[in-house]
Symmetry: C2
Subunit: 458 residues, 2 copies
């Protein structure tokens, strides 16, 4: 019988994370202080992050040891299985060999706990009592609530209004783990109130929710803020995925020609691909594809420039692809892909030509998700469906060209708490949102007076 | 670092199911034809089941080969991990070593696909075009829809009204896999219409839904019926769980003193415990506990007698513990535990003193589920919470007695599509349903004229 999945024993769990910073072909430009425009210092970040995470944000070590306490929690769901998508391959009748790394086996159902557990741990040992964060689709908020429960921390989550309304199950998950969750924009912060004054029915955005969480965190020295994507230390923690995956591909006796992941803030793609990007820097030929929604085309339509991570300009300026910190994306169901910016590391790798980006429309992603469910069995998160859509495109291209090809997809999470999105799709109620270029232009105009990175590109 | 979970490689997947029938200390009495009262013949069952499953229902072989096509589908999620509940143990401060077998990793999120995949396969090779079934909480209906998708069969599910209303996510899962799902009682069958005439707001019951599915199946020779619990062949397929678990306990270097599983129709408990019951028959000292809701106390308050499996008396008479085929359980959230009867195999083992039964109230089960989520990470199905509640009781008893003890719990599924039940619990809106003994007496009065098994007991 053919092997369906490759599962590493617990003894093969990687003991270190991989840090790509020192190996980037062009060094990253620093984050800048929102007030002074000068590079931020560790002390600038101390009101929002504990020192161990600030150090990880800036470290130039290629490998960072994973503490035993974090490894112990990782074992709740890691190492995760690497699947061969034999059902999907047969249905597509493709010569491509399709693999997917199943990050949906965590208690929260996605890759997010890889960094949530680490962040909760470092906050715990640094004396933090309560963590504030934001969440889009709810994957991050639930992952952090889960992780805070394991380490005895309080957790409060600002959830983007449109997801809060569409995805009550995610909120209840957070509450089951002992966290609290409020809809953003909320009346609990200045940031939230200022948005609600302009638009009481605002669907919210990750940018606004980040502002609310940061504002709450800095108000009390026992509290800190936690971010589920974008930042370097988040990408670092996520590399546990790719490090496992390299071992598993080796056992499979294959090496990926193509790597595909959806990209909202960039963390699931980074987690899977960064250890392979290292190989690419060293000469391997791999096509690495970041997939984003056509309705929030940060990488495919935005410039690479300095921008704020949040809507009310509290965060440092980051060098990244962005649609502008006030960009308000359409309420598409892949809430985790509605962020205006992109991780500086992923952005930098795109600037360097090591990763390329494509966008797909909502209906194509759900069609792909349905095909995946009926052939591979697992129901995927709407975000993950973006990666599946492009995986199917690439597999059909291989068929057309009559070429063997190894495709590795990062299956970032399951969709069992996103069933309302599937219902809307099956009922024919979903549509493809088209993005108005004028709207992007207007949103980007606000960046004109901000500093520009050396590698600035429109 | 301590091992958290034991994962067998795919090569260790058992190749045979275990059949306890030939090894029972007292032989089971036969199912009786509903019209004649005579033992049913294979031909009697042919309108509803394909011949390979009828043979498995009656076989006296101790082991039954698993077809390669079924093994191939099992590999989508099997072998499943055996966990050590170190987080829960630490929180309880118990000397007990608690293990749980995680059946929630299947695409449908429960143990149900173990038999659904096998039944879909045998129907497929027997020429069936469409399978009809019923579902309580929705775990079975979604498992069968998933399995039918894998083998290209149509699937139609009658879902108990109260769950249909409370658990839309389960219905959408079925539809995502291509199945169709209607609320029961429905207007599509005589059985459904007769119930609705008496009570248009009937919350439904598994007994009624079974009647509707059987009636639909027998109406067309291309269609068959599929049952997710109760019958011998279902218990047989589920033993893949316990067979894996025995290998895993051996690797762990432990052997269970106590085995705990929730019991609705009996299949998840049977799947885990039957290979251990074999050891018990051969002299091992194991305390095996079936846990049921106090609001549907089939084992703890019902007699062992002949009864119908469904509400309108279409199924054979089965020798089992029962509350009467017209018993209408309260709308408690553990919809999978609302069945009036119990698998004849489990019933027989209770009569023989090899398994004992206890009941727990709803609030205690959710309290246990919350504790489990915050210590072990995973959010459990409301049914599974019944097993967790008694696991906690047993672990605390071990603490009180200062005794080491090995507890094995069958973690039958996750609760990510049952979050509304958790919300109700967290909001203080749930209550403990007490059962009216008069109500049971009334329901049981309808069994007076039915045949009695030799081992009849009240």
């Amino acid at each position: 019988m053919n092997i369906k999945k490759i599962v590493l024993p617990e003894t093969e769990l990687p003991r270190q994370w991989y840090n790509i910073l020192p190996e980037l072909p062009t060094p990253m430009e620093p984050p800048l202080h929102p007030a002074t425009g000068e590079p931020v210092s560790p002390d600038d970040l101390l009101p929002i992050f504990p020192m161990p995470l600030i150090e990880q944000e800036m470290t130039q070590d290629t490998y960072v040891d994973i503490p035993d306490e974090v490894l112990e929690k990782y074992l709740i769901w890691r190492p995760t299985p690497l699947y061969r998508a034999r059902g999907l391959e047969a249905w597509l009748d493709t010569p491509a060999r399709i693999y997917y790394k199943n990050e949906g086996v965590s208690p929260a159902g996605s890759h997010k706990p890889n960094t949530a557990v680490a962040q909760a741990y470092y906050n715990k040992i640094s004396g933090t009592k309560r963590l504030y964060t934001e969440t889009g689709a709810g994957q991050w908020g639930s992952a952090l609530s889960f992780s805070c429960a394991l380490f005895g921390l309080e957790c409060k989550v600002f959830m983007v209004r449109v997801s809060y309304d569409h995805k009550p199950y995610r909120r209840i998950m957070m509450e089951t783990w002992g966290g609290t969750c409020v809809a953003s924009p909320s009346n609990e912060t200045n940031a939230g109130r200022s948005i609600l004054e302009k638009d009481p029915d605002s669907p919210g955005s990750l940018g606004v929710a980040i502002s609310e969480a940061v504002e709450s965190a800095v108000a009390d020295e026992n509290n800190k803020y936690s971010l589920g994507s974008v930042l370097n230390h988040v990408m670092l923690h996520q590399t546990i995925n790719g490090l496992e995956c390299k071992k598993q591909m080796e056992i499979a006796g294959d090496y990926p020609d193509v790597i595909i992941g959806c990209a909202g803030g960039g963390s699931n793609l980074a987690g899977n691909c960064l250890p392979f990007v290292r190989d690419k820097i060293n000469g391997k030929d791999i096509d690495i594809i970041a997939v984003e929604p056509a309705a929030c085309p940060t990488l495919t339509k935005g410039p690479f420039t300095y921008d704020f991570g949040d809507a009310v300009k509290m965060t440092p300026l980051l060098p990244m692809y962005t649609l502008g910190h006030n960009f308000m994306p359409k309420p598409l169901h892949a809430g985790g892909l509605r962020y205006h910016g992109m991780a500086p590391i992923i952005s930098q790798l795109i600037v360097s030509g090591l990763i390329r980006s494509v966008s797909v429309h909502q209906l194509e992603t759900f069609k792909a998700g349905i095909a995946f469910a009926r052939t591979e069995g697992f129901i995927s998160a709407p975000e993950t469906n973006h990666a599946i859509a492009v995986t199917i495109q690439e597999a059909l291209k291989a068929k057309e060209e009559g070429k063997e090809k190894v495709i590795l997809m990062n299956w970032s999470g399951h969709g069992l708490v996103d069933m309302m999105a599937y219902e809307a799709y099956l009922a024919g109620e979903l549509s493809d949102y088209t993005i108005d270029d004028e709207e992007i232009k207007k949103s980007l105009a606000e960046l004109e007076d901000l500093p520009k990175p050396r590698q600035y590109r429109v």
